[in-house]
Symmetry: C3
Subunit: 267 residues, 3 copies
């Protein structure tokens, strides 16, 4: 499998043209930046968590993104309800297990979300992915401490068991399925100093999965776009404040040429 | 009726001088950007939703802004409580029916908010305004699909029934009362790529209504300022990220000259 | 006591090296900007409020920041639980009594938080600090109306009773303990036009207290860094939008030289 700049750009054009509705049940910290990133890439974000409306909102959406960053009981209930409806309707479900491994509550919730009905795509840092499988790992706050190698191995197992695509993100992003692994080496260290860019990556997976039938290719494309826009923003930024601003600008303006010039992808 | 640049600027000066407290019960996505916009124009934003304190908060406020963007039961209860107190106290109530028409829950809540005690001003996109009157319309996510013409007609009916001012916002903003319609043609398409600028417009209606006795004029002024600051920000921006930043800068700096140079208003 | 630029910078270096986990139970409005400020200074922010996980989250944290800006019953319960665990574990607790004095609910909650288990540091504006002691004062919305002199006097009493450090922030920041008062005259009026910079200051107190054993020195350092980064950002800004962006950039880049050139501290 080889994802080219042209193919990535074609998906961006489809997002811009179709403006797919992406339904997010996400954490309080990143709601604003997630909505802005989805708008910038051309999608139509919706945030709704009330048990009275999540199913109807899923029904008008083309992807569902579940993010457990600021959990509580009520929200978990709605997440399950929305996932179940998304599965019934057949739209892709993206899970971001923020902070899995940091507390029992998060690890347990993330595992239940995976076990009850497999998501289409799971994106997390190494610690979070490891925590989905094995609680002997340690997450330090919501940042990653596990090695990528260990996480990729676990991602392969999870991918096989749950028949889903898993992205282990970090300096190198690993997109993992049962049969294959692709590495993306885009991005910039300054991106780790902006809150919620991981959550943004998961939301972009939702936007790409909404227009691209193959979840593996959608994940590769989303992570490449994420890294490239981040890299270009970092080059233009004076720190994490301006990176955040410029990141949205680049997501919005990204051209095929930008992608082909920056794309660092490896089988 | 003719609202001039001088009159708009005079209201801005009043806001800057009085710093009216604007109480917002709004959605999680836009709380930060709403508070920043209110501060930039010179108002004093307060966000409070606990049933234990909304009435007391209303009592120290000069306007109440209700936004249903991320509803749940608890919040709805507090909204009604706050609106009721605002009506008792006689301060203007602004309603932003975000996503009305998208789900039954939102449509129902928005209609109840209007029926139980009429707001002073309602601001929404065409689909949302149509949904307040007639559920045969369709909202696509939280974005608008209804035509402005249809929405303006419905806005006139709603305005007559509920004795309130209605703003149908879009490429052209229509400010509608029983007797008159004013069109504002300020703004820029890039503004639709920043989340929550509609919500910001509603909050600015609150700030202007706090210092300007006539709700119709307050709405015209708020929407003109919104569009002009957005237009100037778009001209200085490289994309939606920098638009958002510059928008707040322009709201803060707006001069009478800026307004008279950009104002596009039509009876 | 004399806090020098070198000492301040040494603490920043410690934060950057150790990346202490700072657990925030804070308000919806500022969660994003608080997390970004903590990341920019080098700390590792965590936001978690579920009663099921706050204690475990405290256990992996080096400081706990409690902010009552958008209170409700559930959150208050979790705040007490987290504070109690933080006290047991011996990590510093910072309290930001946002809007104390504005409503009975906030004043009562803030006082209970102080009375049940004294925080290590309390940071608020003059009205909020006065409200912690005496309800004859008046808060106007969440902005300050009390005089600094009155507040400093009350801060001294509170400091003695609760054996904690109190920062009365404003044009001049007063860091107050039973024995001493230090004034910091950094900062810029434009900072009051950006929402949540007070909350950011409290969060930075958490980051500094996580690496600096003496709470008084930690508070002085945090407030100095806050003011200096804000001052530099204001000089580079065109309004409150760009101030916010540049503030994060400067927090991230701050050098010992920046600090020694700008520091305005008085015994």
């Amino acid at each position: 499998m080889n994802v080219t700049a042209t193919e990535i750009y074609r998906s961006i054009e489809m997002i811009r043209r179709q403006a797919p509705v992406v339904h997010n049940i996400t954490n309080y910290v990143v709601m604003n930046s997630t909505a802005n990133a989805l708008l910038a890439i051309g999608a139509s974000p919706v945030m709704a968590h009330a048990k009275e409306e999540v199913e109807e909102m899923v029904n008008i959406s083309s992807a569902l993104v579940i993010n457990i960053g600021t959990l509580s009981e009520y929200w978990i209930y709605s997440m399950f309800k929305a996932v179940s409806q998304a599965r019934k309707k057949g739209i892709p479900v993206i899970l971001d297990p923020v902070g899995a491994g940091a507390t029992t509550y998060r690890t347990k919730t993330a595992r239940e979300l995976i076990n009850r009905e497999s998501p289409t795509i799971i994106r997390g840092n190494a610690s979070e992915i490891v925590a989905l499988y094995d609680d002997k790992s340690k997450t330090r706050g919501v940042d990653s401490v596990s090695s990528s190698d260990a996480a990729v191995e676990i991602a392969q197992k999870l991918s096989e068991i749950h028949k889903c695509v898993i992205c282990v993100s970090g300096a190198t992003d690993y997109i993992v399925s049962k049969e294959k692994i692709i590495k993306i080496k885009n991005g910039h260290p300054l991106m780790t100093k902006v809150t919620g860019l991981g959550c943004t990556a998961s939301a972009l997976c939702g936007a790409f999965a909404a227009v691209e039938r193959k979840p593996f290719a959608a994940t590769v494309k989303a992570m490449a776009v994420m890294g490239i826009a981040g890299e270009m923003a970092a080059a233009a930024a004076k720190g994490p404040g301006s990176l955040q601003t410029r990141f949205l600008d680049y997501l919005y303006c990204l051209s095929e040429n930008d992608i082909s010039q920056h794309l660092k992808i490896e089988d």
